[in-house]
Symmetry: C2
Subunit: 124 residues, 2 copies
């Protein structure tokens, strides 16, 4: 019992797997290596089981002023050292990207997905 923890880490995260109920809060680092947000959730294709988008949470405190930004999975790479994800995106790009407030969720259909993918196409 080196680290106090209320959750059994063994079943939720290993070197290669992460449980879907544990992805929230995973740090996301931007182009300059600084944290630009944290994972809110993964949007998973129900049939293929492939993560299509990562919704990251930025700013805000206790939900106030918080914004969600969906980013394509294809621009994410896992950074073992930092224990989080790296994306080749800076804060300005993120500010101009599609986003929504927690109380104003979009319909996550194909058209919305294309809008996200098109916006970030230049960064991948």
């Amino acid at each position: 019992m080196d680290e106090p923890s209320s959750t059994p880490v063994e079943m939720t995260e290993t070197s290669s797997l992460i449980a879907s109920d544990r992805v929230e809060g995973t740090k996301v680092f931007g182009r300059d290596g600084q944290k630009i947000g944290s994972v809110h959730n993964f949007m998973v294709n129900k049939r293929s089981g492939q993560v299509a988008y990562v919704v990251i949470s930025t700013g805000g405190f206790l939900g106030l002023g918080q914004a969600y930004h969906p980013l394509p999975w294809s621009i994410f790479s896992y950074d073992e050292q930092q224990g989080g994800y790296a994306v080749n995106v800076d804060k300005r790009m993120l500010d101009g990207a599609p986003s929504f407030r927690p109380d104003n969720a979009p319909v996550f259909d194909d058209a919305y997905g294309r809008r996200i993918s098109d916006y970030f196409a230049a960064t991948s």
Copy 2:
């Protein structure tokens, strides 16, 4: 507002995507079409973003007597009609499969993954 709901369904589930924080509770149907359990979580490869295993929850009430069974993603198919997953597994096979109690989680390493995949290899 046809359906009362406290969560914005639009952002969490569409015809092709499901949010990682909404997979829990998705029904899983067995070989005979009867419900054999429900999704507890997805175990996702952190690097590829591909779901590797689905941990399904069976039996129990309010957590009592509940067992978790990890099944390989490869044996799952999405059943649009039923709004859940179908697996070619019956209750007897599930009873003999690797399982764990909520308070006795295994280390989800490669060896454990192979044990699961080997057990279910005959069903895919």
